[in-house]
């Protein structure tokens, strides 16, 4: 189903749309306050963008450097070309340790690879331990936002879910009570986990170490209690030097939630004595995107979610309307590279207002890439015949001023004199909720000619 259809369904409940819009706008405003407190914010963005551009231009060398440093520190490094390879690698590691109970902290990559259903089919329990992810997991839904996975759920809905799955008492959606109940439940999961899976926010070529950022402490609770820690990362998570974290960590949390930094920014360099630490480096379409000059910089993304919070369409259509692992503006430029046909409506789910480009901490020109994807979608994905023909004829007419003006005049005549039920028919999507402009007696061309004649 296209974005517009899903968005229309989401908009049937206007109160919920208002609630969703306000919740995310609140985050956007917190981000503004945080950014304005930082001296040199725009310089930070320039540097972050410049570092990422350097990374992409030297990615193979950085990955090899990262690998060799990580191995020196006792970390085991794996490479996966695609989602299937990634899932197989993770499964093999778990099998080796006979691991049946897994705790996982937030990782959009494992969402992208559909790791949970894969492992569950092998009889392995995977518990998502980020509270938002835990909520969508028990609701059997996908995250609707990359930083706030359950932002589409009201507290009352969470209350009901917890009653069903955790046996909590009804609390009218008391967030403190519900969070504490989840804490108790997840504690037992952490204490009994055989292995922990985490994502990676940044991997440092120079040191072979990686950084994981959370507010809840769930990645650390998992990774330090279980015997095995598997960290999964896309190839683009590499940064050259550790000091560059000084730039990225200034930007990440402020852009994401308006906090100056996440509660925990954990630097993993060596496994605990006697434990194992694995890193799985995943391509899954990224090198293809690297080849697309116009869309390459989409790989700068540090997954802060700021473009979602600012996007007036995302806020009013909800993350699920994008039907993609990464929703919102950034998802709309990443997803077409993975499956153009399936995601062909996403580049059109934008007014090209450019707010996403302005908030992006790594300066991805998101709205310009949306425009460019549109040109490709139209060429490569079969378009509705009528739309295609109408637009082609329009283009032809636009190059022929006499005909174009004649048609303009006739159009005005029709709009002025046709009965209302003809003008506001079902075919006129403009007119469902909007009036058409009132038609004046003459257009500007006519007025100008008359004036010159008389003057």
């Amino acid at each position: 189903m296209s974005h517009s259809k899903k968005a229309k369904i989401f908009n049937k409940n206007e109160d919920k749309v208002n609630w969703h819009d306000k919740a995310l706008w609140f985050v956007r405003e917190k981000r503004d306050v945080a950014a304005n407190k930082v001296k040199g914010w725009e310089h930070l963005r320039d540097y972050a963008s410049g570092i990422k551009a350097n990374v992409l231009s030297n990615l193979d060398n950085y990955l090899v450097e990262f690998e060799s440093n990580a191995i020196k520190n006792g970390i085991k490094v794996h490479w996966a070309s695609n989602a299937e390879e990634h899932n197989t690698i993770v499964h093999k590691i778990l099998q080796k340790h006979n691991a049946k109970n897994i705790v996982k902290s937030k990782s959009m990559l494992t969402e992208e690879c559909h790791l949970n259903p894969y492992l569950e089919a092998q009889g392995i329990e995977v518990v998502d331990t980020d509270l938002g992810e835990y909520i969508v997991q028990i609701a059997k839904e996908a995250p609707s936002h990359i930083v706030l996975p359950a932002i589409h759920k009201t507290k009352e809905e969470v209350d009901e879910l917890f009653q069903e799955h955790l046996g909590t008492t009804p609390s009218n959606g008391n967030p403190e009570y519900l969070t504490n109940e989840a804490r108790k439940h997840l504690r037992s999961k952490f204490l009994n986990a055989d292995a922990a899976i985490t994502g990676v926010n940044f991997a440092v070529a120079e040191t072979g170490g990686f950084v994981v950022c959370t507010n809840e402490g769930n990645a650390d609770m998992g990774a330090h209690l279980a015997k095995v820690h598997i960290a999964c990362m896309g190839i683009e998570k590499i940064i050259p030097k550790e000091e560059h974290l000084g730039i990225f960590l200034c930007l990440l949390a402020r852009s994401a939630t308006g906090q100056p930094i996440t509660t925990y920014s954990s630097h993993f360099n060596k496994p605990i004595e006697g434990n194992e630490m694995h890193i799985v480096i995943v391509d899954n379409g990224r090198t293809e995107q690297l080849n697309r000059e116009d869309f390459r910089s989409s790989l700068h993304c540090i997954r802060c979610g700021a473009c979602m919070n600012t996007c007036p369409i995302y806020r009013r259509s909800g993350g699920h309307s994008y039907d993609a692992t990464i929703p919102g503006p950034i998802g709309s430029i990443l997803s077409p590279g993975k499956d153009l046909k399936k995601h062909s409506s996403l580049p059109f789910a934008s007014t090209l207002c450019g707010s996403c480009t302005n908030v992006c901490p790594v300066k991805i020109n998101i709205h310009e890439q949306l425009y460019k994807w549109r040109q490709i979608v139209v060429k490569d994905v079969k378009q509705p015949f009528v739309k295609k023909v109408v637009l082609k004829i329009t283009g032809w007419l636009m190059a022929r001023p006499k005909l174009f003006n004649l048609l303009g005049k006739s159009g005005r005549f029709i709009l002025k004199y046709a009965p209302r039920f003809v003008v506001y028919s079902k075919l006129n999507a403009w007119g469902n909720a909007r009036e058409l402009p009132k038609i004046e007696k003459q257009n500007f061309n006519q007025w100008y000619k008359n004036r010159n004649k008389n003057g």
Partner: protein, 245 residues
């Protein structure tokens, strides 16, 4: 300086008064302005729909129409933005480059090129400014709320020169109105919701007249206002700057 007046197709057909106000305003400012009659469209609707290559003819015609002028001025930020940003699809001849470098949105032209103030305009009303995205973020008619930069607004500066005009501030200073060209019909539900929210922001802040430098956004808002019979009007900024007692 010979100035070519660029009147976007929808303004020509649907909002002749906006075009008239633009012309009169430029004439009041002693600009040597001409209106080439063979204008059609800048090609923006096709480009934004993904049919950019089908708009080449329109773009070429635009260049033909305006190549003899030193400067091109139009009362529509998004159309001007399209010429500046997206005429890269034409071979970049000297003529094309000259046009891309010398096409200006009306307010931008008055402030940046002419360096003139508005004198004698009077409009005793509470006005809300709709900062259209392509003008704001594309042409930089003002600072954007997302960026950490010194505050400025070309449009506000001009409006503040109008006697009696009270500029009201909004809760969301530069949120998109949801027009977005063909977006308004292909994503109708969201487009309408965004427009409704935008109007509500103006109403909540006591605005009587919504103005802006891009009448396509205003057309969308006006369509909603008229359907819902709301106590608020839209006017193009040229109409306000050209108004007198």
């Amino acid at each position: 300086m010979k100035v070519g007046l660029f009147i976007p197709c929808y303004i020509n057909q649907l909002y002749p008064n906006v075009a008239i106000a633009t012309l009169e305003l430029l004439e009041k400012l002693n600009v040597d302005v001409y209106y080439p009659l063979n204008q059609t469209c800048c090609g923006q609707p096709l480009g934004n729909s993904g049919y950019e290559s089908d708009a080449k003819g329109a773009c070429q015609l635009f260049v033909e129409n305006f190549k003899e002028y030193d400067v091109v001025v139009g009362p529509s930020g998004s159309c001007v933005h399209h010429i500046v940003e997206h005429f890269d699809l034409l071979p970049q001849t000297e003529e094309v480059k000259k046009i891309r470098n010398n096409t200006f949105e009306l307010c931008e032209f008055i402030v940046k090129v002419l360096g003139k103030k508005i004198e004698g305009a009077s409009f005793p009303h509470k006005v809300g400014l709709h900062k259209s995205c392509h003008g704001l973020r594309g042409l930089k008619l003002g600072s954007c709320s997302e960026k950490v930069e010194p505050y400025f607004s070309i449009e506000e500066d001009l409006l503040n020169e109008v006697e009696g005009l009270e500029l009201m501030s909004l809760n969301r200073k530069d949120e998109c109105c949801g027009f977005g060209g063909t977006f308004s019909v292909f994503e109708e539900a969201i487009s309408v919701k965004m427009g409704k929210d935008k109007i509500q922001d103006h109403l909540d802040n006591g605005v009587e007249i919504i103005t802006g430098a891009d009448h396509s956004c205003l057309m969308h808002l006006e369509g909603l206002i008229n359907r819902n019979k709301q106590p608020i009007k839209v006017m193009h900024i040229a109409e306000i700057l050209n108004s007198s007692l």
